[in-house]
Symmetry: C2
Subunit: 330 residues, 2 copies
Amino acid sequence: MSITIEDISKQLQISVSTVSKALNGYKDVSPKTRDLVVTTAKELGYQPNMAARNLRRGRTDKIGLLINNSIQYVSEYLGEVISGLALTAEEQGSNILLYTAVTEKSDILAICRNREVDGLIVIWSDVTDGTIDLIHSEGIPFVVYGRRVESDEISYVAPDNYNGALVVTQHLIELGHEKIAFTTRPELGTTNEDRFAGYTDALIDAGIPIRPEYIIETKIESGSGYKAMQELLRLPDRPTALFAIHDLLAVGAMRCAQEQGLNIPVDIAIAGFDGLLPSMTTKSEITTVKQPLQDMAQKSMEMLLSRIDQGSTEAKQITYPTELIIRAST
Amino acid sequence: MSITIEDISKQLQISVSTVSKALNGYKDVSPKTRDLVVTTAKELGYQPNMAARNLRRGRTDKIGLLINNSIQYVSEYLGEVISGLALTAEEQGSNILLYTAVTEKSDILAICRNREVDGLIVIWSDVTDGTIDLIHSEGIPFVVYGRRVESDEISYVAPDNYNGALVVTQHLIELGHEKIAFTTRPELGTTNEDRFAGYTDALIDAGIPIRPEYIIETKIESGSGYKAMQELLRLPDRPTALFAIHDLLAVGAMRCAQEQGLNIPVDIAIAGFDGLLPSMTTKSEITTVKQPLQDMAQKSMEMLLSRIDQGSTEAKQITYPTELIIRAST
DNA sequence: TTCACGACCGAAAACGATTTCGGTAAAATA
DNA sequence: TATTTTACCGAAATCGTTTTCGGTCGTGAA
């Protein structure tokens, strides 16, 4: 059995209340007994039982990280985000509890109600399934990470998808491209909308007409980037550039183009979005728009924690600027 | 306030004991009242308070994931490992609690003693700091992930570093190389030893002498792969191949060689280890030895959970085969 | 009819902390 | 000296479960 507060109280012939108070910095305990308690606690190697403390305090100092498993390229994304979240949480005395295999709505209800966490960071790409509204209706503090949410009652931290898409498209235009294709991904919801809007606005601003045949809708499945490029290359009037809505699609498209013997970026320029794939070599790097994943992680965690501490309920919505990274592919 | 077991007991005019027993599948409650309890619990949206349950049961159904933050390329490694761990944990009704910013030994003691988790998965690259022994002496169930440990009292799941290094070196030899360099990383401890042993044994088996000037010791810092290659290229008798102890070093070395105008793999072949960098394009891929991160994660979690359930204390040590992935760099 | 035995239920004791509330003694004030 | 304040401490309630231990009631067997 571990050492409890009672062990200390017995050894010192002092009540448990006093021991607890001494350990927790209450004022109504003399310096002498406080020292005594603290030193013997250290001696015995006492560590408070968290379950008991949580029960009594009605707080767990834990933040749940809710991730839907249908997220694409979880691995690349996750590592950076998680380490950012965990670090700032732990700085403020909280830990992160992972919920990755949540599929049922009842599980989400359980998480919200069982008081296992003080709040949630939600990374959820599915838009249509009402999960976020469900969480919101439960009243647990939470912040949505990485995605804009329509409702203004909900806090989120998201990259500036519109501007990022605008800038990268302008970059392609500046390179002389006018036939610029774009791959969409409707499941991404607001993210898709914003990046698409950035793309079209850049074209419109430059007086370039938008050609529907250059806009390819992709699905969540591997090889969809490859297929999209195949489709584009079949066109009688091929595009000279592609802006893929995210890097994995760009990579697939690149592979397809290379296999067709095309020279990148001479025959076709390719840009992506997200910027999480590490650049492996100096060659073959892909132009992209980089999200500040770490900063966003830190910010969202700070927002959540301060909201929990202050019990405030007002929603904050923050957008982070993105960074255009120009590499060999354009 | 949330719904408690007492709310149900009041509404049904039944004792809390019976409610609890009905909910937990005890036999000494009639089917009728059981149904009644279960349905009204669902009606009221009852979810058990975890802190209370944990306190009473002396168990939390949580697994701590202890990661030392000095791990190199955490992000790439982490994502895949964590999702593997979390998935198998959640399948068995446990969740993962993250400890990433642990630096003090006292923090580790706190984790072991505060009963916040039932066990630990330890990902700790530092060998010399005695952390693992400390955890072991605390008696909490734990499994070391990704690394062989000397002591046979400690459970671990590790890749077969020796064989992986042996095979990749043999691969280089088969390609006709005899001047094969190797970059070491002493901080990696047993991992370093095993890969080094694989390298030397492959050379010895082939009757190739081991040349000390081809063995470069690298430190934990970015650019060390680049520097190692610089050093090698300064040699009067340059090596024709390099086996880097991990991929990041290989990437750095590759970049250096390319900048020097060398053709890979004609002028110099390069192989790495780990296989976690995603292959971005068909070109510029790097030969490597892939660790089965996901399988190892699943296995280590299963080992830990069964050990917790059965209270067994015997240590299991499992080594996973690696896979040689031959790509363009050799 | 009596006794034993299940089936079913409730009271109450944990689990280990926090926190309120009151009480005693010493110190300060009148 | 009498009274109030202050400093310090302890008893006990509380958080929401789980689990042990009896107790009651009805049914079957003797």
